[in-house]
């Protein structure tokens, strides 16, 4: 008799926990819209869309790493080197080939990360954290070396008109910006990849229980190398969108991207213990992060107070994740 209502409450709590981000997003939208009507203006919508920029691509890639039970701190280094190499190749081989080269380079760097980890036998998140941090140092110093530490400016530096970069930067197609279309494209592809393909499933198994997956015939080592390669590729996409936005690119451009990407993924509800989560959750996480800063901006919250709020939310999200894991 007493058990029934308790179980009902338990189910309600579980449901709330499961879709916590969604509730928070909705609440945030409602409250901000009431307090500050400008929030619902068309201009703010364009603004929001624009902010769905580089971070969302990086976060998509990071999702697979975290679902696979690992972590990647080499993002800042990869962004630097990909952005700088792509920009310097533009006047050598043209804009599109340069971008293509940038994407290949990103994937290659990710491949190096994954291979290094597997050769060293680094099979835990903590070990991956330090090794990828070292990798980030290496990549960034290579980027600095390559450019001599000078910023690069695609607006004036090259003779090429760089139409693709310009389109990525500010082009619109229908109601949405072109970079947002690109984002939707990758979201769709990666969502299908994760839920429908064997390799996508293998990533989840690897993150769920590495030993069991290995004994069950899943090629876990290759899976790990793959997720790092995929992440490297997505980081490269993010890097290209990033330099299209800022027009002047400095070699340290990627700073804090790894942190924000991990935050978006975890806030979205993808578990750091691995095996649980997907790209849709990451979209929710990224949305929350972007919405939150948008709302706080509109409401006039000081920039640095925003940092504190973001940090608090990250800690809260990790803590909730561990609570959830400990209970279930």
């Amino acid at each position: 008799m007493t058990k029934q209502p308790r179980m009902g409450r338990q189910a309600a709590v579980d449901f709330l926990m499961e879709y916590l981000v969604l509730f928070v997003i909705v609440a945030l939208v409602i409250v901000t819209a009431i307090v500050e009507p400008r929030f619902l203006s068309a201009q703010n919508f364009t603004n929001l869309m624009r902010q769905f920029g580089p971070l969302s691509f990086v976060a998509l890639g990071m999702t697979f790493i975290i679902v696979g039970g690992f972590i990647d701190l080499s993002v800042p280094g990869m962004i630097s080197i990909v952005a700088m190499v792509t920009l310097s190749l533009v006047d050598v081989i043209g804009e599109l080939p340069a971008m293509f080269a940038g994407l290949v380079l990103g994937a290659a760097l990710g491949f190096v990360n994954g291979t290094t980890l597997m050769l060293a036998g680094a099979n835990t998140q903590a070990k991956a954290l330090f090794i990828t941090f070292g990798m980030s140092q290496i990549y960034r110093s290579l980027a600095l070396h390559l450019t001599g530490g000078f910023p690069m400016n695609w607006g004036t530096l090259f003779e090429h008109p760089m139409p693709v970069t310009r389109a990525l930067s500010s082009g619109m197609w229908g109601p949405l910006s072109i970079s947002f279309w690109v984002f939707l494209f990758f979201l769709l592809v990666l969502y299908i990849f994760q839920s429908k393909t064997a390799l996508g499933r293998a990533i989840t198994y690897t993150g769920g229980n590495l030993t069991a997956a290995e004994l069950g015939g899943i090629p876990t080592k290759r899976v790990v190398v793959f997720i790092y390669t995929l992440c490297g590729f997505m980081v490269a996409v993010g890097a290209i969108v990033l330099f299209s936005r800022v027009s002047v690119t400095v070699p340290t451009v990627g700073t804090f991207f790894e942190r924000d990407a991990i935050m978006a993924v975890v806030v979205g509800g993808t578990s750091l213990t691995g095996g649980r989560g997907n790209v849709l959750r990451t979209v929710m996480g990224v949305s929350l992060v972007i919405l939150m800063s948008n709302c706080m901006n509109l409401l006039g919250v000081q920039t640095h107070a925003q940092e504190v709020v973001r940090g608090a939310i990250l800690v809260l999200a990790i803590w909730l994740d561990h609570r959830r894991h400990a209970r279930g």
């Binding site: 393909t197 064997a198 989840t204 198994y205 229980n209 290995e214 004994l215 069950g216």
Partner: protein, 491 residues
């Protein structure tokens, strides 16, 4: 009975774990200054009883009186301080600390500094005739030396009763002799020893009294002089093989796998054959190398030398996928850590190994996925509300069936089952036996490892005994007695 010389009295102790009744009305009386043997098969309830005594588990009911004091809810440290120490098979030592520090672990302030710790540790070790340097790291010690450290640790608490759980399992013959001498000395000093072992020779050589435990019940306690070896084995194995097992299949055909040699750090020149349709049982103590053999065959562990012919062809197995490709399947020993992804659904766990088989151009065929899950749930009668139920909510037996289902879907030529019925209720056990039988009758070959001797003997066509990393004998369970086989397994 005169109670003045009773050090430990256990009366009607019961203990259940979810789904398993581990101890039923256990009663043991241990007299001061004796060496009291406890024998029983794996899973008989010996370790549960010892863990209740040492305060790791709490009993459900019953009374325990130790040294004149009734023991209620105790913790490990309380129980040690009250004079009851236990030395586990896998030692309770911190590998990264020195010998001296381990002996006085957690008592730094009490001991007044490191110098005193090493001084006292030295004295304790000297008193048992051990020459281990107290400054040595425990990770650098041999098993025998670690045991000495554990004994010194027990003595440092002025223990009146020391429980030794399988102390001989990793000792050489010489080291064992030394241990016996030491136990003799301790007895003279008035220390009581409870000696848990499989090895009956040791029990007969060492113990004054012996208690036999089976299926969570105390079967008998007798002075050693009143028991013969045969009687003891009979009481350990207990129940005659009745209707607990299905009729064993007789489908053995020609050789399918020829293991020419396996050498690892632990295994020495393992060689055997497996026939088509045969159920081959591996009998041996925990740690004898049974699991290591099958893991090497499946590619789960690296081997120094691995020569295997399957269907007459030489196969190279370096990882589990090679093993799978060569037609070998493994149901691992620890289903929770090595077999299942616990937070995932039944369906996800069942289709894990078929992932690429049911994919076209890399895309998983969702209807086939569902089909497989439903087929296996039905044919194995896995009790789950739906294929999407999470496996962590299932009972042990149903969890095991999920892994079985995974392999049946792939249908490997050779299926290796490592402890397939551990921690599973009797009803489900029978279902698993039927499954094994079905596999063999359909031409599959099975290697079965189990710590429950009757089970292996009732199911197998042939039995290999494994002792200290070697194959020590080959038997026909239909003609050779359980006694002979057990004898070969315990060396």
């Amino acid at each position: 009975m005169d109670n003045s010389d009773v050090i430990l009295s256990v009366q009607n102790v019961n203990k259940s774990f979810p789904g398993v009744r581990a101890l039923t009305d256990a009663c043991i009386t241990v007299r001061k200054g004796t060496v009291h043997g406890v024998v029983g098969e794996n899973g008989a309830g010996k370790s549960t009883l010892m863990k209740i005594l040492s305060g790791v588990h709490t009993k459900d009911s019953g009374t325990i009186v130790f040294d004149g004091q009734t023991v209620e809810n105790t913790t490990p440290i309380q129980s040690i301080r009250s004079g009851l120490s236990i030395i586990y098979q896998e030692f309770n030592l911190v590998n990264t600390l020195t010998v001296g520090e381990n002996i006085f672990l957690g008592r730094y302030a009490e001991m007044n500094g490191m110098r005193n710790i090493h001084k006292n540790a030295r004295e304790l070790l000297d008193s048992i005739g051990s020459k281990i340097d107290t400054h040595k790291m425990v990770s650098d010690l041999s098993a025998a030396e670690k045991q000495m450290v554990e004994i010194s640790k027990a003595l440092s608490f002025n223990s009146k009763l020391i429980i030794m759980d399988e102390p001989s399992s990793s000792l050489t013959a010489d080291e064992l002799k030394q241990l016996f001498v030491l136990i003799g000395d301790l007895r003279k000093k008035g220390v009581t020893i409870i000696y848990i072992s499989h090895k009956l020779d040791e029990i007969f050589e060492l113990c004054d009294t012996v208690t036999i435990i089976r299926d969570g019940k105390v079967i008998d306690t007798k002075p050693i002089a009143e028991l013969t070896r045969n009687e003891m084995i009979a009481k350990m194995i207990g129940r005659e093989i009745e209707n607990e097992y299905p009729e064993r299949p007789h489908a053995a055909g020609e050789t399918i796998m020829n293991v020419e040699t396996i050498n690892t750090r632990k295994l020495k020149n393992i060689a055997f054959e497996l026939k088509k349709g045969e159920i081959l049982g591996f009998v041996g103590l925990v740690g004898a190398g049974r699991t290591e053999i099958v893991r090497a065959i499946y590619g789960a562990d690296k081997a120094k030398e691995l020569k295997i012919l399957i269907n007459g062809r030489k196969v190279k197995i370096k990882n589990p996928r090679d093993g799978m490709r060569a037609g070998v399947g493994l149901l691992p020993e620890d289903r929770k850590l090595e077999g299942l992804v616990l937070p995932f659904s039944v369906q996800a766990n069942v289709i894990m190994s078929s992932l690429w088989r049911i994919s076209k151009f890399g895309f998983v065929n969702a209807s086939k996925e569902k089909e497989i899950a439903e087929r296996q749930i039905k044919s194995l009668s896995i009790k789950a509300p739906s294929p999407h139920t999470k496996v962590k909510t299932l009972s042990g037996g149903n969890q095991q069936k999920c892994i079985m289902g995974r392999w049946l879907e792939i249908n490997p030529d050779i299926l290796i089952l490592d402890e397939p019925t551990r921690g599973i209720d009797v009803g489900t056990k029978y279902e698993i036996y039927l499954l094994i039988k079905r596999i063999a009758e359909n031409g599959g070959s099975v290697i079965m490892i189990s710590s429950e001797l009757p089970e292996v003997l009732a199911m197998s066509n042939r039995v290999l005994t494994i002792c200290e990393g070697r194959i020590s004998g080959e038997f026909n369970p239909e003609t050779d007695s359980a006694h002979t086989i057990m004898d070969a397994a315990i060396g």
